[in-house]
């Protein structure tokens, strides 16, 4: 697919008439505008059963509307991830249990883990069998079209079907204009005016309300306990609202009126930080994170919007105000096109009365979140310039290496590799801060940029500090590109038998799920262009990872040839100097060309990042350091103690709390 379409080349272009025929609601749009913009911006695509409509991880700029026929949506990449291995055999694991009484092996809190993978359609995929069907009248790929994310899932036609593939313009016509991010603007030459949308949106909402809302609600852990009739009640009363990029959903210190559940999109939760008393702030811009700070002369306080976290599909917010009858304690704004389920105060109250457990859970979460809403100031006595420039202020848990102790024995790196199936997530190099080396390993930012654009929401943070990349990562490299510190790497590794079996299982289920005859499906599969997820035969499996790396990644590039530019960082061969994310496509395509070799089928690419070895008491790297050099610390407090040597006592107590990690 080419991403600078004067017109969409694939499929046959639609005249306005045809378009209106497929999408009647477009009649509501003034014919002039329709003529001006819609022509060529939408095409008819015909797919035979088994065809891959779009492939997960690839980049695109179009949405699809199913006119006829059915498609199945699924995640092809096997559920595979580099897991942190608990320590060795039974005896030693016992030992570990003995030694790791400090361990943070707390059970996951409810609010975090729903059993569903959010995708770019009106439904979610259940995690254990990531597979769903869509029928006529469905729209998918909306987020890709708007926010230029990679495709979040693979869509395959289960029987012959006809679709309308459309660009933003048409989407806007249908659903009303929303702010677009620059990237998308750049890629659609169409100078889009603003549209107020058509009844199509309502229709979609209705569909959603009818089919997906309940399931969606259920996918929210705190609602597990609710019973169906209440869901029905909700279905009637809940209000579906949408916001464009940067629109404010609710403002700090305003009255709380509703409880929000995120349907699509990403919500930024940020807080104002009041100045310290009698401060005459000076302006400061962090070069790395492009953040704005107001600094007091003594360098103690920082003023400005500070992002606390990002909430994504399936998460909820706004409960604190309702529970505690207080004004909003944070500002929530849409990071991109956001659809919300808004539950009014009354309904909320009613729900709480009916279901004390829900109340309890909410109170729990709310309390945790409220805890952290406090004033934050910078530690005194640090070399503030570096501290800000290197983004240490953002970090919550930093891997520091004391260069006065470190004998450069690489034990930490090896330990990390051992702990993660032989793949290190740690690079023993980086900038220095005083006599510490800030190693290149995830620092658990307060403002985890990496999480903002994951198409499948597989990189996320649960109720504890670490940032996890879930099994269903599709290796699109968005996060790696986003991380300002290069802490996320893409690694190719071979599937284990179990994973291969997993893929096969999915295959089978898909086959069952299909209405069409097996024979037909088989034929279709044979015709499928994209690599079938079948496990590879032995020889490929034997290929040793080192050797397998370059071709694999290159093929990755090719696979995502739709948008070579953003995919570029994903390709491991990108030389260090040419790190600019947005390179010209021509250049970007270059590395993709020679890589025509078939990618070994049992190799999958996954993003990896430090998970703080959560199920171990101490991170392996720190535990393995023979020289007391590697430390995993909260930088502000630690460095203030180490270097500042001033009183850092209660002013930073908030930094130690676990709650201020994911909260608003």
């Amino acid at each position: 697919m080419d991403q600078i379409p004067e017109k969409l080349t694939s499929g046959e272009p639609l005249t306005t008439e045809e378009l209106i025929e497929y999408l009647p609601t477009l009649k509501e749009v003034p014919a002039v505008l329709l003529k001006q913009f819609a022509v060529g911006a939408a095409v008819r695509r015909k797919f035979r059963a088994g065809d891959i409509v779009c492939d997960e991880g690839t980049f695109g700029s179009t949405a699809f509307y199913i006119v006829s026929g059915n498609v199945s949506i699924f995640i092809k990449n096997p559920m595979a991830s580099v897991k942190t291995r608990p320590s060795g055999g039974g005896f030693f694991s016992a030992l570990r249990r003995m030694t790791s009484f400090l361990g943070t092996n707390q059970p996951e809190m409810l609010a975090a883990d729903s059993g569903f993978i959010p995708i770019d359609a009106s439904i979610d995929l259940p995690k254990e069998t990531p597979l769903a069907d869509l029928g006529p009248g469905e729209l998918f790929g909306e987020m890709t079209c708007r926010t230029f994310q990679p495709r979040s899932a693979t869509v395959q036609a289960t029987d012959d079907c006809v679709m309308v593939e459309m660009l933003r313009v048409v989407l806007d016509m249908l659903l009303g204009t929303r702010e677009v991010d620059s990237a998308t603007k750049a890629t659609t030459k169409v100078k889009a005016p603003t549209f107020k949308g058509t009844s199509f949106k309502k229709m979609m909402d209705e569909n959603y309300r009818k089919r997906s809302l309940v399931q969606h609600l259920r996918s929210v852990p705190i609602f597990h306990t609710l019973d169906l009739d209440f869901f029905n009640h909700l279905r009637e009363n809940a209000e579906l609202v949408s916001f464009g990029k940067n629109e404010i959903i609710c403002k700090q210190n305003e009255a709380a009126d509703a409880f929000y559940l995120i349907r699509t999109g990403l919500v930024r939760v940020s807080q104002k930080m009041p100045l310290g008393p009698g401060a005459s702030p000076t302006y400061f811009v962090d070069k790395t994170t492009k953040k704005e700070y107001w600094m007091q002369p003594d360098g103690s306080a920082v003023e400005g919007e500070l992002v606390r976290t990002y909430l994504k599909r399936g998460e909820f917010f706004g409960e604190i105000g309702l529970l505690q009858n207080q004004p909003r304690n944070a500002t929530c704004s849409a990071l991109d096109a956001v659809d919300l389920v808004k539950i009014s105060r009354a309904t909320f109250e009613m729900m709480l009365d009916a279901f004390p457990i829900v109340r309890a859970t909410l109170k729990q979460v709310a309390a945790a979140r409220a805890e952290a809403a406090q004033q934050r100031t910078l530690p005194a006595g640090l070399q503030l310039d570096d501290f800000i420039t290197q983004g240490l202020y953002e970090a919550q848990n930093l891997l520091l290496i004391d260069l006065d102790n470190c004998t450069r024995c690489d034990a930490c790196v090896n330990a990390c590799a051992d702990a993660h199936d032989g793949v290190t997530r740690l690079i023993r190099d980086g900038l220095r801060y005083d006599h510490f080396l800030v190693a290149t390993a995830c620092r658990s930012c307060r403002d985890p940029l990496c999480m903002t654009q994951c198409p499948v929401g597989s990189i996320r943070r649960k109720e504890s500090l670490e940032i996890l990349i879930e099994d269903w990562c599709i290796g699109c490299a968005k996060c790696a590109e986003l991380c300002p510190y290069g802490n996320i790497n893409l690694v190719d590794f071979e599937m284990t038998r179990a994973q291969i079996a997993d893929v096969e299982r999915k295959e089978k289920e898909k086959a069952e799920a299909k209405k069409v005859a097996d024979a037909k499906a088989a034929a279709a599969k044979a015709a499928a262009p994209a690599p079938a997820p079948k496990p590879a035969p032995a020889p490929a499996a034997e290929a040793k990872p080192a050797a397998a790396t370059p071709p694999a990644t290159e093929v990755k590039v090719e696979a995502s040839a739709a948008a070579a530019a953003p995919a570029k960082p994903a390709s491991a061969v990108a030389p260090a100097k040419a790190a600019a994310p947005a390179t010209a496509p021509a250049k970007a395509a270059a590395p993709a060309k020679p890589a025509a070799k078939p990618r070994p089928k049992n190799i999958v690419t996954k993003a990896t990042t430090c998970d703080l070895c959560t199920q171990l008491s101490v991170p392996s790297c720190v535990y393995a350091c023979p020289h007391d050099a590697a430390k995993r610390v909260d930088p502000t407090e630690f460095l203030a103690k180490q270097i500042g040597r001033r009183d850092t006592g209660k002013r930073f107590r908030w930094l130690n709390r676990a709650e201020n990690r994911t909260t608003h």
Binding site: I427, G486, A576
Partner: protein, 566 residues
Amino acid sequence: MADQPRTQKQIAQKYKDNLDYYRRGHFLRRLKLALFLLAVIGSLSAVFGFRFWGNKQYFNTGPISQNHARFANDCAQCHDGAEADLSRALKLDQAVTDLKEGHLPSLDFEKLKAAGKNFSAAEMAAAAQRNFSPEQLSALQQVVIKKSSLAGMDRACLKCHEPFQLHQPQIEALKLRGVHPEMPLVHSDRCSTCHREHVGTGLMKVPGSESCATCHADLKELARTRNVIKVNSPSPPTRPENRDLGDKLIRFLMPQEANAQPAVIKNYADGHPPFRYEAAGARDPAVIKYNHQRHEQADIPKLNGHALQCADCHQVKNGGAFYERVKYQQHCAQCHSLNVVPELPGFTIPHGDPAVVRVFAESMNRQMFTYLLNQQPGAAEADLAARVVDIVGKIRGRGNSTLEEFERRIYEAGDPPRDERISSKSNTGQIFPPCAKCHEVTPSSGAALRKVTKTNIADRWIHHGPFTHLPHTHMMCIDCHSKEVGSRNTADILLPSQALCAQCHSPLRKDKVLEVIDGGVAPRPGTPEMVEKQKREGGVKWECQNCHQFQAPPEAIRLLQSASAK
């Protein structure tokens, strides 16, 4: 200029396509591995290669004494190993030979029975028929079994050296077995405890007192190693007693206190127990009336022109290790003659058997006639006879007309009897003294013979140490036997105390050493000054081994058997 600003990400980017470097080999790691393997292979091959090409000297911990020089390259001669011990622990072959030679089998009967098939019925019987009292048996077996627990190295000594199994009993203890109901048994199965090898060429050093002290200075250790067996001794002394144990030597014996714990001894001067005769209530049981003090007095008539001396009666015997018994004929008779009449010197009453005395008394005339005949060979018999009659008449005239009277005078009264003498103090005027003067005479009624008790003067006072006077010839008698002076009673024991001996026989008292003796002349050996010096400084033979020997003689066991067989 060299430092362009870099971001963390740029740094990280450098490594992006080489993330698995630690999987690939690297110079330093390879080198480390290579050297390690080298060490592994090297050391292991060194160890195993030694079996074939190694030189035993490699394990030699020190130069070997000339006694064992010829084994220098054959470790196995002595170090024949723990497994050799185990193989030897059950010494059936040894047991068979022992049985055949009529020794005590060097293993207990359980093992013997277990190995029954190796023995003929006769042998089994012989083994079973050892008529020991059970405790002796067990004790002896202990000894022998202990021997079989010799460490390999110590057993190796027995290949050439006589198997000394016992430290006790020593030969003297065995001699005294008749009078001591208890006999200590101490096994000595550890040659290497005292004998050091690999400490230098030349002769092996004789173990010093400190070796003995390792046991004898440690009561716990003594209690552990020492065990006592009961010997059925016919007549143990109940009081001090001089007895001949059948070797023509009269020994001074004290009753043995039962199961006495040995003292803690470091060396002769430190902890050595006093001699038996020093014990309270020890007295000389000899039956003779002798007063040393009297004989030292001034009015004692000169003998051969000089005043009486110790040497006049105490004379050295065969080289001077010990002294002659004091005999009447040689010593006493010089002063105390038994002449019947002054006219006939040498015509004396026989000293000894009362029967002989009686015969003499009855046939005095004929005795005298033959005596005179011997005196004057040519004289006419008639004159001689006349002379005999004359003399006998005189004797009779002295009042011993009858035989009874005569014997009374010989035994009890003396002639002339005390009341007829001028002074009872001296013997002046007495022709011959009565036996009872010195001896114990039991009177008899009528014609029966009197009895004179044997004197029974002890020849040996100490039995364990081989004491000899020879090295002491440079000393005066009274240096040691000082108690003699003023001793009136026979019962006094006139021997030096152990403490007295220890004055000289002690480790050198360095603080007492004087560099220059007054006058600047170092005392020559054998001079009184030397004695003074030695008394002051000590340093004269004080090691245990100077008097005692460690190993019991090989025949100890055999003697033990014969002793208990009686």
